[in-house]
Subunit: 315 residues, 2 copies
């Protein structure tokens, strides 16, 4: 019988790259090698891990390269760029984590699954796309893309025009059965970048769409579906705070879902930043009694599962 | 008890794209949708499938785009381009195959694994790189890349200079345990493009290298390792031939390893084309009594497992 606690870890952007370094694959691999040390420590402590990760900067650069080279070779649609980013980031994590485990005397296998996530084509998010992706355009270029390719475009804070895509809710992880089957023996890297977003047509065909699924919400979906005990969302700060960066900032150790919901109403958490993380945490804590969501930094991940760091959200 | 025959299918280039179509992701998906019909038929006949595939044109275009956009965003190393191509191609195959199965009333899951394949850093292939990758350069540019990045470069039949990489033998599939664990329930897409080539350092670290592993040899390695009954190599022709495209061309139905080896000695099979396929087939047929290798076209795949088409190679 396996009584290990099941842990889904959602890695944020800072786990994959450091802003002070050039955005090369080589420097990503260096950052990933540091990141996986913490994941390996969690594994050694007996947790069964599944790993979700963001892909914002990486898929952004894949889109950039693809568009910039469009005169040489056809540009790739956004869903394919997402699939490519899963291959790229998953490869680095699985290669580095395997070695970090090996150093600790563990030979737990690690593998990345190419993962599609179904979104509802009637999700209201499709009515108001918000996520900027790819390069900046002039107004003229942007309007041309809008007319010719049906892109949604938006002026981005005086810096130029960009394509924007929707951020719909994750409904279903298409490759879930494989994650479940592997989970007891293997560290699975999945729903990279929130998963490749697909919609299900009437006839059952899945079709890739240009959208960005929030990776913390995708990790939450995964954590519920594989009956994880803990959803751990890793970010840049050690704890969730009230009055963040104000003189009266108050860091939170343990909050209930009710408290978290009240803090959201009071506007404590920034949209697109801490807010979706707290929302994902609430959703998981609510999903089943005894479930625990933790928001903390990579560096505090091990302390946090032992109750010595981070912000814990429970029912 | 599961008594289904285990089949490893190696998809060639024509299963993923058609030369008459523009090399876009959209047209690849159309070709893949046609390809998976044959794979779904094999699955319906009760075969357990693992799928290997080539990535030559796709990774070529990823390298092209990456190099052409190097003034916008840093170019990706070749191993990462390979990982990206696994995400790209695997995504299309798993999406399309799942639907083709569903149409046939089967809900067998399909998933792609990001897969590394260990090669020997002392493989003699590293001494004479032969596989051209990426864009054409002028002699001056090529020599500069050689000096600055240590690339091997070669003049390519009067068309310009190109980078060349080695094509070492596949030694070990790093993510093999996951393939094995999934195989009984799930169609696994793995060793895409022959696998991401990695060498194992003394300290156990795996390190990506710029190399191309022959996808048929990688599929053979996989077929041995998962104890497949049949290795099926799909290509453009229905059968292996002697005196190919000559007036006295003779198509082969069933040959023994000894015959195949003699035909190789007689120079019947073109290097880089039919030769590596026959070599992979021989290797598999030799690996264990009763194993069968089949070389045929995609369109004859179902007939071939029933002994009605293709060239069968056995001990």
């Amino acid at each position: 019988m396996n009584e290990a606690k099941r842990l889904v870890v959602a890695l944020g952007g800072n786990a994959l790259e450091e802003k002070s370094l050039p955005p090369t694959a080589e420097s990503q691999l260096d950052v990933v090698k540091r990141t996986v040390e913490y994941l390996a420590d969690l594994s050694v402590k007996g947790y069964e891990l599944a790993i979700a990760h963001g892909n914002g900067p990486q898929v952004g650069r894949i889109v950039l390269a693809s568009e910039a080279a469009a005169n040489v070779t056809p540009a790739m649609p956004f869903d394919v760029c997402g699939a490519m980013s899963q291959g790229y980031i998953g490869y680095h994590i699985q290669q580095a984590l395997r070695f970090a485990l090996q150093k600790r005397g563990k030979n737990t296998p690690v593998v990345s699954l190419v993962t599609q996530v179904v979104v509802d084509k009637n999700d209201p998010a499709f009515q108001k796309p918000t996520k900027p992706i790819g390069p900046f355009y002039s107004e003229e270029e942007a309007k041309k893309l809008q007319a010719e390719k049906g892109f949604s475009v938006k002026e981005d804070a005086g810096r130029g025009w960009r394509r924007v895509v929707a951020s719909p809710m994750p409904k279903r992880i298409v490759e879930l059965s494989a994650v479940k089957e592997l989970f007891d023996t293997t560290i699975v890297i999945t729903v990279g970048g929130g998963g490749i977003p697909v919609v299900e047509r009437e006839d059952g065909i899945l079709e890739g769409v240009a959208a960005v699924i929030d990776k913390d919400l995708a990790a939450e979906r995964l954590a519920e579906d594989i009956d994880a005990d803990i959803l751990m969302i890793l970010t840049e700060v050690e704890k969730v705070s009230l009055n963040f960066k104000k003189p009266d900032q108050k860091d939170l150790d343990h909050i209930t879902v009710a408290e978290a919901e009240r803090y959201i109403e009071e506007g404590h958490f920034a949209p697109g930043s801490m807010l979706p993380k707290v929302q994902a945490a609430i959703r998981f804590a609510k999903s089943h009694p005894g479930k625990q969501a933790i928001i903390t930094s990579l560096y505090k991940a091990v302390d946090a599962v032992e109750g010595k760091a981070g912000t814990v959200i429970t029912m």
